[in-house]
Amino acid sequence: MSSTTIQAIFDDDDVLLSAVKELRTANYHIEEVFTPFPVHGLEKAVGIEGTRIAITSFIYGLIGLTFAIWLMDYTMITDWPQNIGGKPSFSFAENMPAFVPIMFELTVFFAAHLMVITFYMRSKLWPYKKAENPDPRTTDDHFMIEVSTANDVKSLEDLLKKSGAKEIKTKA
C-alpha cells in the first residue's frame, strides 16, 4: 500500500526543532527538511549520520602533495637538471627547501578544489540544476518538514498541528 508524504511548514526554527523531536519519538520517518539557514542541532534531531567530506579533502590534499613532489623531482632533477645559481640540482633532498612553497600551494589547491567539486556533485549542485524546494518561502523565513506515513495521515497531521505547524498539505 502506498505511503503518503505530508509537508508541514513552520515559521520558527525552535518550534521546528521541537516538532522534529516529537515526530521522532512518535517514530515517524522524516523524509526531508528544507530550511533557509543551518538550524543547529537539527541533523542530530533528525538523526542523519555525519558527512565524510572532510576526509575526502584530506585525501585530495595528499594527492596534491605527491603530485607536487613528483612534478618538481621530474622537472628539476630527473628530466632536465641545470646548474641554477649553484643550487644542488643533482639531488632532490638537497634542493628540496626551495620546493616547499610549491608543495604547500599544490596541496591546498587540490584539497580545496576537489573537495568543493565533490560537494557539488554529491549535493547535485550545478548550473541549470532545477531547485527542488517545494515552497519558495523555505529560502526566506519558513521551514518545511516532509514526513511520510503509511497509515492514518490524520493523527500525523494532528501531531504536526500540535507541535506548531503553520500549514500542512499532502505532497502531490
Partner: protein, 464 residues
C-alpha cells in the same frame, strides 16, 4: 535555551528584525533601482578603467620603455601596485576564514563584501606580474609545460614562480569559498524574484540550491574545511610575495623578518580597505542595522594590532640596519640614508601614514568614529603603498655599487595603469553591490536570535 549569549555582548543586529526582514533588507539593493550616486561613481570608475586599458595596450605595443624604469631600477610602480593589491586582498579571506575558525559571529555582517573585495583586489594584483613582462605574449612560459623550444622546464627555485602558484591558488580558492557561501543567498533571491529574467539568472547562479538538511550539513562542513585550508593559505600568499624580496641579495630586500612583517602589513591594509568600502556601503545600501559600530570598532582593533606589528618591524629593520655597521645598509628604505637622502619624502610619508596616524586608534573615541575610521583607512592605504614603493625603489636606487646609483620617476603610463586598476576594482565592486547579496543573510539569520537586539532585550525582560 540554545540561543543564549552573554547579555554584556552588544547586539550585532539592530532594530526589531525578523528572518523575513533580513531577506528584504539584503534583497533590497538588488531588487531596487540604482540611484544617481551609483551611476556617477560607476561612470567615473569606468573611465579610469578604460584609461588603464589604453595605457596597458600602449605598453604592450611599444615596449616597457614607456614606463619610467631603467637598468638599475627594473621594478617600480608595477610591482609596488602588485604587492599593494595583494595585500589588500588579504582581509576578506582572513575575515571569513580565520574569524570563522575563532567563531567570531561579528564576521557574518561583513565577510561577504570583504571576500568580494579580496577577489577583486587579487584580480588587480594578478594583472601586474603579467603586464610587467617584457614579452607578455610569452607569459605562458611560467607554466610548467615542456617548453616548445626544447625540453626546458620552469625554475622552481624562483620566488617569482612561487608567486605564480601562490596567487593562482589563493585567487581560485577564495573564489570557490566565496561562491559556495553565496549559493543559499542566491537561492533566496531566486525564490523572491518576481521578474522572470532575475528568476532565471539567480536560478542559474544558485546552482539549484534547495536548502536540504543534508546540503546544509555538507555546506557547513565544507565551509569549515575551506576555512581551515584558507587560513594558512592567506598567511602563505604574502609570505611568498615577501620572499620575492627576502630571498634576494639586495640591501634592504635581504631581510629575514619580511614574511611575518609582510603578512601583518597585508592584513593592516586589507582591513583598512574593508573599512573604506563598508563605511560607504552601509550608508548607500542602508545596512546600518547589520554593519554596526561594533563591526567598525572590531576592525579598528585588528588594525591597531597589525599596525603595531608593522611598526615594530620598521623599528627592527632600522635598528638592525644601523647596528650591522655595514655601509651597504646605509641607504636601505629604513635607514638614516633614506630619511635624509633624495627619497626623504617617501620615507616620511611611510612613517607618518603607517606609524603615527594609526596610533590615534588607541582612543575609543577615534576607534568608534565613522568619519575618522574612514579617513584613517585611506591614509593607511596610502601609507602601505609607500611602504612597497620604498622597499622597491629606494633599495634599488641605492644598490651595492655606488656607480649604479640612480633614481626613478614615473611616466604618465605608470600612473594611468595604476589609476586604471583602481577603476577596474570599483567597476567590479559597484556591479557586485547592485547584483549580489552583499550580506551572508543565511548565516546572519542563524545568529539573529542570539545576537539580535530585539531578542537580547526579550531575554533581559524574561530575566527580570
Amino acid at each position: 535555551m540554545s540561543h543564549y549569549e552573554a547579555p554584556i555582548r552588544e547586539p550585532l543586529i539592530f532594530g526589531d528584525k525578523s528572518y523575513h526582514d533580513i531577506s528584504v533588507d539584503v534583497a533590497a539593493p538588488v531588487e531596487g533601482k540604482a540611484n544617481k550616486l551609483w551611476w556617477i561613481a560607476f561612470s567615473i570608475a569606468l573611465t579610469a578603467f578604460l584609461l588603464g586599458i589604453g595605457a596597458i595596450c600602449y605598453t604592450i605595443g611599444v615596449g616597457i620603455g614607456v614606463w619610467g624604469l631603467n637598468n638599475r631600477i627594473n621594478w617600480a610602480w608595477d610591482i609596488t601596485n602588485f604587492v599593494w593589491w595583494v595585500g589588500i586582498g588579504h582581509a576578506g579571506t582572513l575575515i571569513s576564514a580565520v574569524l570563522l575558525l575563532f567563531r567570531q559571529k561579528w564576521r557574518m555582517g561583513i565577510n561577504r563584501s570583504a571576500e568580494a573585495m579580496t577577489i577583486f583586489a587579487v584580480f588587480q594584483a594578478g594583472l601586474f606580474p603579467i603586464i610587467h613582462m617584457g614579452r607578455v605574449w610569452n607569459a605562458f612560459y611560467v607554466l610548467p609545460l615542456p617548453n616548445a623550444l626544447g625540453s626546458l622546464w620552469v625554475n622552481f627555485n624562483s620566488p617569482l614562480l612561487w608567486d605564480v602558484f601562490a596567487i593562482s591558488t589563493y585567487l581560485s580558492v577564495s573564489l570557490v569559498f566565496w561562491y559556495t557561501g553565496l549559493l543559499p543567498d542566491f537561492a533566496m533571491l531566486r525564490d523572491r524574484a518576481v521578474k522572470p529574467f532575475q528568476k532565471k539568472i539567480y536560478g542559474l547562479l544558485s546552482f539549484g540550491w534547495s536548502g536540504r538538511l543534508k546540503d546544509w550539513q555538507r555546506f557547513e562542513e565544507v565551509s569549515l574545511v575551506l576555512a581551515g585550508l584558507a587560513t594558512p593559505l592567506v598567511l602563505s600568499v604574502h609570505t611568498i610575495v615577501s620572499m620575492d624580496f627576502a630571498t634576494s641579495i639586495i640591501p634592504g630586500w635581504h631581510s629575514t623578518i619580511f614574511p611575518p612583517y609582510f603578512v601583518a602589513g597585508a592584513i593592516f591594509s586589507g582591513f583598512a580597505m574593508v573599512q573604506t568600502l563598508l563605511i560607504i556601503m552601509r550608508k548607500v545600501s542602508h545596512l546600518e542595522a547589520y554593519i554596526t559600530k561594533i563591526h567598525i570598532e572590531n576592525m579598528n582593533k585588528v588594525i591597531i594590532v597589525t599596525g603595531g606589528i608593522v611598526s615594530v618591524a620598521y623599528m627592527t629593520e632600522f635598528f638592525v640596519g644601523w647596528y650591522s655597521g655595514s655601509s651597504y645598509e646605509d641607504y636601505t628604505y629604513l635607514s638614516v640614508g633614506a630619511a635624509t637622502g633624495p627619497y626623504w619624502w617617501a620615507f616620511w610619508s611611510l612613517i607618518t601614514c603607517n606609524f603615527i596616524f594609526p596610533l590615534t586608534l588607541w582612543f575609543k573615541k577615534a576607534r568608534t568614529s565613522l568619519i575618522w575610521s574612514f579617513i584613517l583607512s585611506i591614509i593607511i592605504n596610502i601609507g602601505m603603498w609607500f611602504e612597497r614603493f620604498d622597499i622597491i625603489v629606494i633599495d634599488l636606487s641605492r644598490g651595492h655599487l655606488p656607480s649604479s646609483w640612480t633614481m626613478f620617476s614615473p611616466t604618465f603610463v605608470d600612473v594611468s595603469i595604476f589609476i586604471g586598476t583602481i577603476g577596474f576594482f570599483f567597476v567590479l565592486f559597484l556591479l557586485y553591490a547592485r547584483t549580489f547579496p552583499v550580506i551572508a543573510q543565511a548565516e546572519l539569520k542563524s545568529i539573529l536570535k542570539s545576537s539580535g537586539e530585539n531578542y537580547k532585550n526579550l531575554r533581559k525582560e524574561n530575566h527580570e
